[in-house]
């Protein structure tokens, strides 16, 4: 249930921080960001979008940690460089 998708904030659309333009792989839509106002929102933030609302910010740190953890599963230190390729830029 509940399809949600990561998107990047490319523009804040009003003063009250209620709306932002987000970009998902070149597709743009105006999205309501009032649910994440309390976290502070800025351009280039990545957020999780569901039915035209940003539900939460996406934590790059947590994402990286997860990938690193999985990388380390086999204790295969050698592949550590490879995971750098998935680093966020």
């Amino acid at each position: 249930m509940c399809l949600a998708i990561p998107g990047k904030i490319v523009e804040l659309l009003d003063d009250r921080n209620q709306y932002a333009m987000i970009d998902v792989s070149g597709v743009r839509r105006k999205v309501n960001i009032s649910l994440i106002q309390h976290e502070g929102v800025k351009v280039n933030d990545w957020v999780l979008i569901h039915v035209g609302f940003a539900m939460n910010k996406i934590s790059e740190k947590q994402a990286l940690e997860q990938l690193q953890l999985l990388q380390e599963i086999g204790e295969d230190k050698e592949a550590m460089t490879e995971i750098k390729g998935y680093q966020f830029d």
Binding site: V24, S25, G26, V27, R29
Partner: protein
């Protein structure tokens, strides 16, 4: 070939029966084909006229909106029919077109489409040689319906038939998929989404002509994956050829915007309509030549071998990911609908 015919039992006709997926097939195979004694359901039919083998086809176009980025109903109406002829291995010769116009439609709208038709016909190097015009009352049509029929001269080197498709044959796709369907979805404006994306509508005969020159003996089957998308076209192939199709997911080109749209809307690009792409099944020996030939024609650079034909009791389409997971790709029931869950 139509086997296991199922009588059409639904009491009324609904939108899904025209959406090109399963319901459409039920209607066509359960009602039309049996009455008309049709054995094969292809893009075009073959008719022998004296010494000439003619490919003959027709389609009605009922697009909403009439105009969209990259094209319009008029352009589609020409390219759609030209492509169905091309898919039969025939050089398009001539088009006849009929218009059903809703009373009150602005002449400007009509003129724009007539112009678009003519331009598309010129580009496709085919003449519009005749037609018909009907006007119906307000709310008895939707501005403009265009029907085009086309004939083409079948290239004598070509022998297309699902029956010839066999294990080891390669599936070639001409380019990225989903552009048309996503463009239309966006153009309707209901979803408030935008992207730099336009319909892929174009005539594919130039590709097919080169493909025939390069690989006619190995060329076994072609289809333009329009309504119902790749999923429908390939499932029809699997069923008609009694084979399984295994696709390499990564080989199938999807533009980032189309992929983004599909992820947002919970759609599968394999179900999305295309109007300027085609699939060709070519024997292993000719596959590379075929691919090279398509790629040489401007606009064909992204053509790729996307999969292979397998022997199987289950005549299905499978897509294999790079890590080895496979999924079955089914036809849709009706038009693809965006979902939120």
């Amino acid at each position: 070939m139509l086997t296991d015919k199922i009588a059409f039992r639904e009491p009324t006709i609904q939108l899904s029966h025209g959406a090109g997926g399963k319901a459409s097939r039920r209607l066509i195979e359960g009602l039309l084909a049996p009455y008309f004694n049709m054995k094969d359901l292809n893009d075009a039919a073959y008719v022998q006229a004296d010494q000439a083998k003619i490919a003959f086809t027709a389609d009605s176009f009922v697009v909403n909106p009439l105009r969209f980025p990259g094209g319009s109903i008029g352009e589609l109406a020409i390219n759609g029919t030209v492509n169905d002829i091309a898919m039969s291995g025939a050089k398009p010769l001539a088009i006849v077109s009929t218009l059903i116009i809703e009373a009150g439609t602005e002449t400007e709208i009509l003129e724009a489409e007539i112009k678009a038709m003519q331009e598309a016909a010129e580009k496709a190097n085919v003449a519009i040689v005749g037609g018909d015009t009907k006007v119906v009352e307000h709310q008895k049509a939707d501005k403009l319906f265009i029907t085009t029929a086309g004939i083409g001269l079948v290239d004598p080197r070509v022998n297309l038939s699902a029956g010839r498709v066999q294990k080891g044959d390669k599936i070639i796709l001409s380019g990225p998929i989903g552009d048309h369907g996503i463009t239309i979805l966006f153009a309707r404006g209901e979803l408030d989404l935008e992207a730099d994306i336009k319909s892929d509508t174009r005539a594919v005969w130039p590709f097919v002509a080169k493909l025939i020159d390069a690989a006619a003996p190995g060329l076994k089957w072609m289809r333009d994956p329009t309504r119902g998308g790749m999923a429908t076209a390939l499932n029809e192939l699997a069923r008609d050829a009694k084979v399984a199709i295994v696709l390499e997911e990564e080989a199938i080109q999807v533009r980032p915007e189309v992929r983004g749209a599909c992820e947002i809307l919970g759609l599968d690009p394999m179900h999305i309509a295309n109007e300027g792409q085609f699939i060709a099944v070519v024997s292993k020996e000719y596959a590379d030549d075929a691919l090279k030939a398509i790629r040489q024609v401007p606009g064909g650079e992204q053509a790729a071998i996307i999969g292979e034909v397998h022997e199987s009791d289950r005549h299905i389409v499978l897509s294999r990911s790079s890590y080895g997971g496979t999924r079955a790709i089914d036809m849709l029931v009706g038009d693809p609908l965006p979902r939120i869950c």
